[in-house]
Symmetry: C2
Subunit: 341 residues, 2 copies
């Protein structure tokens, strides 16, 4: 059973997910394995994954069979396990509990060669809908307080399988970063009686130097204080703290802006590894006037070294205004270059 442990000073939780029998020499510097021939996420191999919890696009009623467009399965090597009680307990001054949680894989397409950001919005919106549906389902489990949805694209960003997929982890505690965001946003709200994210959107539209693109429902921008070059944030224009309550129309618009933002990023730096994460309200929360759900997209372009580990400070060699300007011009530049050929 994995274990959750809390740092007694920082309150930061960590998961001890012991891989049995690993010796020190097995901890070589993280380099994700390439899957040679066999892919457990490809159609035809449905029986090699744990039983699916959700699919879209299949016309037959036979579970774990062919014909799906998007498929959600429990992770075969989960960081947390679904069965058991939390068993919160102390060890002297330390706190720990069982590593209970859900860890699921969202297989984004049956086609092994498909790349997330090149999927048609009709298809991509099914993935965003799957995130919603899984959050709504996991919310019913009282042991869980938060569902973190994220994607690792490219080996350098931590992806261990080539086949396009994202992941979610349901956690029995509120992650420290979400807690900090909620606290920071509440502090601003208590002072101004306005949502800080709504104010950011308002200012970004006025200044128009960090906007990457926008549509009827969403805006993509480079944040004022980004951790890495080309970091982006996608926010709904209308205030909402609950990602899972967005309409299908909005999910389609989300797919459109996501696809455009990542195409622009790829046009700037082809095949750049990146992570994205969804920050939404905690499970079973009421609507929050101070919090605004959003996606953060973080390209893997700088290394986290002693200074960053020690301080929580980041050194970023590219101002977000310059990144936004490259991003917003990137597709146009490429099509001009094509015209000139």
């Amino acid at each position: 059973m994995p274990e959750l442990r809390k740092d007694p000073v920082l309150g930061r939780w960590i998961i001890i997910a012991q891989e049995r029998g690993k010796r020190p020499s097995d901890f070589v510097v993280a380099e994700a394995p390439t899957v040679g021939g066999f892919c457990p996420l490809c159609p035809g191999n449905e029986n090699t994954t744990p039983h699916e919890v959700l699919t879209y696009g299949r016309h037959s009623d036979v579970p774990n069979s062919l014909g799906w467009k998007v498929r959600v399965v429990p992770n075969k090597y989960p960081a947390l396990v679904i069965e058991g009680g939390l068993n919160r307990e102390g060890e002297g001054l330390y706190d720990k509990m069982n590593g209970i949680g859900a860890h699921e894989v969202i297989v984004e397409s049956p086609d092994h060669e498909d790349v997330f950001f090149r999927l048609a919005p009709e298809h991509m919106s099914l993935i965003f809908k799957a995130f919603q549906e899984r959050i709504i389902d996991l919310e019913q489990d009282d042991r869980f307080r938060y569902v973190l949805v994220f994607k690792n694209f490219g080996k350098a960003a931590g992806a261990s399988l080539e086949h396009s997929h994202s992941q979610l982890v349901a956690l029995p505690v509120l992650p420290r970063k979400i807690e900090s965001e909620l606290a920071g946003a509440l502090k601003y709200y208590n002072y101004k009686e306005r949502c800080v994210y709504c104010d950011i959107i308002h200012q970004e539209l006025m200044q128009n130097v960090r906007v990457v693109c926008q549509n009827e429902f969403f805006i993509a921008l480079t944040p004022f204080a980004p951790r890495t070059p080309f970091e982006m944030c996608i926010l709904p224009l209308k205030h909402s703290s609950a990602y899972h309550e967005q309409t299908e129309e909005e999910m389609f618009a989300l797919a459109e802006i996501f696809s455009e933002s990542l195409c622009r990023l790829d046009a700037c730096i082809p095949n750049v590894p990146y992570n994205f994460v969804l920050h939404t309200q905690p499970l079973r929360s009421k609507h929050l006037p101070h919090f605004h759900w959003h996606f953060e997209i973080v390209p893997k372009l700088t290394s986290i070294a002693g200074f960053e580990w020690g301080s929580g400070f980041y050194i970023n060699p590219m101002p977000p205004e310059e990144a936004a300007s490259y991003l917003s011009e990137s597709l146009e530049r490429i099509s001009q270059e094509d015209d000139q050929k």
Copy 2:
């Protein structure tokens, strides 16, 4: 001029250290360059670095000449610059200021081939003394609030030069991680009227399952909730919040325990890349009953992916009790293996 920017929600500061004329294609995934023939930190090349601010071991009075054992110079490519005022200002709801600070390199030995953890304690203690002396000197500059001392060893941990060196950055704001540690420790102190680190040391000595090694003045242990396999923490046994006030005898004992801890780590995983950071009290602080200075040593063995970025949670595949057991037996195991040959 670099710029400091504050995230409006999290309060996290970042440094925009723009490298002029960099195009998106220049941001290839971080891979530190090897220095082929020429090393700016080697003896004989003293004139290729900015003017030294401290040396130990040189008998002559000629600055920037040969004969030193440890040499401190300003970083030639600093993340922050030393000249100028802070100019705190707003940009709508955002906060920023000039990127003012000191960024120095501690050249740990004249010998290009020397490895930090193999230096004799007499030599290594000079490095720890240099950290002290630089903190005391930079404390006089009212613009600075904190000096962060750190080391990147190995390319994967962010080292860009082969020649053994550590670094320090004097900052005009308190880093978020230090702020969190101070706040967490104060919360515990207000509740218990005891230092949380003193309590940790007491419990670790009692339990004796996470102790790596100890001597008259220091203890090295694997923390209860470590972020990575083989993470270690070195703390003084006697309460003190001020690293720069430790005696020469203590600095010698620190060199001894540091050397032993890193030799044990190297015996477990040869040449493992790692970072270390010093956490001490803020500049011009009075003695803090709740804070206890310490070094954190973080081997680079796991990758920071979407889950960690999004949550601030870490997944660690090795329990610290197991790591401590490997570490505490490592040197003995090697010497036994040698005996059997």
